[in-house]
């Protein structure tokens, strides 16, 4: 396989005295979608924030195209082509859709490139074109999520870090947005690192998956393989094990193999 674009090696990040990531290593290869699964508090978002420079790791290395980026300022990281689409959409509610998109292209100087990117965004998210002059705060949740992703695309990124794009969206909208992500990957060869609680959707979309628990990776593998794992099926995909009794409530212990 080709050399990974993004290499994370033994990252440890803290919130004050609390260790949120305990030595995580993972690889993202070009053109790949990598999903990170895990329950609340597993450290998925922290991992994203550490990559994008919002948080600095205490230990460990992050290399992007062979260059060390751990501890870099977030704007420097963006300039290198890593775009972070944060959890909970975080669009600027009082700015219009257009203005939001322009902010995403803040690092670009070339006007022609910006217009090209805007057209690209509109081609993937036609609804944003329709509402381009509307204040972002008045959009629906799904549209705001689309705007957040579109804003990320405007930076002409080499890799997108998507933090729970399905959060708070209806199943239909999740399907739609994940469909667009898939098209972006297929057509633009966009590399993505995706954090998700919606394991089903994430594994359908991804090539490779990692499972995090309390700050560590406990399992990883090709998405197809993960979907077959009994632990993943039981704990993330909601498959009910055959029990001796109806209404069984207890779950067997996770072994991650």
């Amino acid at each position: 396989m080709s050399e990974p674009v993004l290499k994370i090696r033994n990252i440890e990040s803290f919130y004050g005295p609390i260790m949120a990531i305990r030595g995580v290593s993972l690889d993202v290869h070009p053109g790949q979608i990598v999903s990170i699964l895990g329950a609340n508090g597993a450290g998925k978002t922290t991992l994203m924030k550490t990559v994008s420079g919002v948080m600095d790791p205490e230990k460990g290395k992050i290399t992007f195209h062979g260059e060390d980026i751990q501890g870099s300022e977030p704007h420097k990281v963006v300039q290198k082509g890593i775009v972070h689409v944060p959890e909970g959409r975080e669009v600027f509610p009082l700015l219009t859709v257009d203005e939001n998109l322009s902010l995403g292209a803040y690092t670009l100087k070339d006007k022609g490139q910006v217009d090209h990117d805007r057209d690209l965004v509109f081609s993937y998210f036609p609804i944003l074109k329709e509402r381009r002059n509307q204040e972002a705060g008045t959009l629906s949740g799904g549209q705001q999520q689309m705007l957040a992703i579109g804003r990320g695309l405007m930076g002409n990124p080499k890799i997108m870090l998507l933090d729970e794009p399905s959060l708070g969206l209806s199943p239909l909208l999740v399907q739609e947005i994940f469909g667009i992500l898939k098209r972006l990957n297929d057509e633009q060869n966009m590399t993505m690192m995706l954090v998700e609680q919606n394991a089903n959707a994430a594994l359908e979309l991804a090539h490779h998956g990692y499972v995090m628990e309390v700050g560590r990776i406990v399992m990883d593998g090709a998405a197809k393989v993960l979907m077959q794992s009994e632990d993943i099926q039981n704990f993330y995909l909601g498959v009910q094990e055959e029990g001796a009794r109806e209404n069984r409530r207890w779950k067997r212990k996770k072994t991650w193999r």
Partner: protein, 628 residues
Amino acid sequence: MNISTLPPQITVNGVRLNATPGQRPVRVDECVTICELFQKRCAELGDRTAHREKDFGIWRSYSWTDYWNHAKWIGLALRKLGLERGEAVSILSEDRKEWVWFDMGIQAVGGIASGIYTTDSASQLKYLVNDSGSRFLIVENEEQLDKFLQVEDDVPELLKVIILDDEGLHDLNHPRCMMIDEFYKLGQQVETEDPGRFEAEIAMATPQDTALLVYTSGTTGMPKGAMLSHENILAAIECGAHALPTHSDDEQLCFLPLCHILERDVSVYFPLAAKCTVNFAESPETVFANLQEVSPSTFTAVPRVWEKIYSQVQIMAQDATPAGRAAYGMAIKAGLARAECILEGKPVPAGVAAQYWLWDRLVLRNLRRMLGMDKMRRGGSGAAPISTDLLKWYWAIGVPLIEGFGMSETSGLATLNTIEHNKIGTVGRRVPGNDIRISDEGEIQLKGLNIFQGYWRNNAKTAETFTADGWLRTGDIGYIDDDGYVTISGRMKDIIITAGGKNITPAEIESRLKFSHYISDAVIIGDKRKYLTALIMIDQENVEKFAQDRKIPFSNFASLCAAAEVKDQIQAEINAVNKDFARVEQVKDFRLIDVLLTADDDELTATMKLKRSFVEKKHGHLIEDMYK
């Protein structure tokens, strides 16, 4: 009984015992059976706290009267539902007060209590219930109940299943199942109908009645039930009282499985004699937090637990500030200097004592408080060999930790170090009242009143276990030094004969490997092979820490085991051990077991030891790979 013919008695920590252990009748405060002693203690201690258990995060106390009443209802209800004297009852539950209540209730009405590990599978449950011929099964909760439901048609002799925790089972309607509250009510009903029945049952017990079955973990073949009589247990209490004094105001923490004879002695029978209080850990995962909360006076654990506590302190020390790290280092140095003197039986020089006093104030006392060991008078380690360095470290921080040896067949105690008579690296001297000898083959053999009655319904195995002149064959090889201290070198059955015809006891090499912080357990291979090799289970926490400190990338457990640096480190550990062995005994190659095993796996015993036979079978491909 004619008083004048009874052995003379003395009082030890307020309990009357035979002055010379090992004489019949074994009496503890004039009682000759466990249930008689139980009755006496409950009557005299009444509202004093016998047990504590956490309920929604708050420690709740249960008195000796609660102990008595519940055991009474249990015993009476069991009899009412059809339990005959001499029949077995199985308990499938984590440690909790009801476990102990049932243990007493069953024995008081002449039943035989048999514990089943919660990690056992449904098929193991089936085997244990059928082998013991259990008429009743006590299950803790729905998870354990489901194991019964899976095999319910294959356990025909079982009359009823009693469920302790009804959470999630409100709509359960099964003719063979009963909730604990309903069961207690039945007992209360019998009590009003037939007052004095329970006391009459207790009076019927004799010292030779079988009181409990302890299934031996069985690293080979199916588990066998070791029958222990009332007398056996009282003899163990007697040994314990002489060698491991427990005071009536002691606090203890119960967390190892009560099916295991070690925890059963320490948390049920010894406290019964000593009148102390037992606190139940919430779960195996919370032991360390519970230890802090309880701060017990005595604490008995397996080496793995002692090792974990040590590792945690090491990790904390490494991540401390430079000043903190230096202070810790100096404190341990001062502690070790003092410990060396004490352990060699020499007086502590004034300078060393002063140093220790200072560092004790500054560091060690806080460390002990943080670990929940500030009140600890004695720590005990058993069930597996423990490294001498680890023992010394505990002495250095001011926790006297001693090692002992015992097995189900000896009611848990066979040889013991004591605080006063302690030789590190040995398992101590024979317990008071026991005789010990080494056979011509080098096997340790024992005689004493604590030696079991035989295996349940298995006369062939029982006959194999005793010599013609009535000594117990422990199956362990070892030697006794001039002062009477015993060293165990291995299991007889495990002796490896290499292709070159050399006899090797793998346990010796295995335990040396296990003393490494990176190796949690090891199995030596080499029977009928040209050279020795090892399958190694790494200690996850310590090796992960090792990898992180050296920036070795890994994602999951398998990739950790695959890392070249980790393999090199394990090789280095093996090389260090190899140095101390002759060439034929050296480990030439090894493989890491790259799946994280849990107690639910066949390869591990409930005390997390690798089972040779299963490991050899399951990881045969790794073994073959080493002999290519």
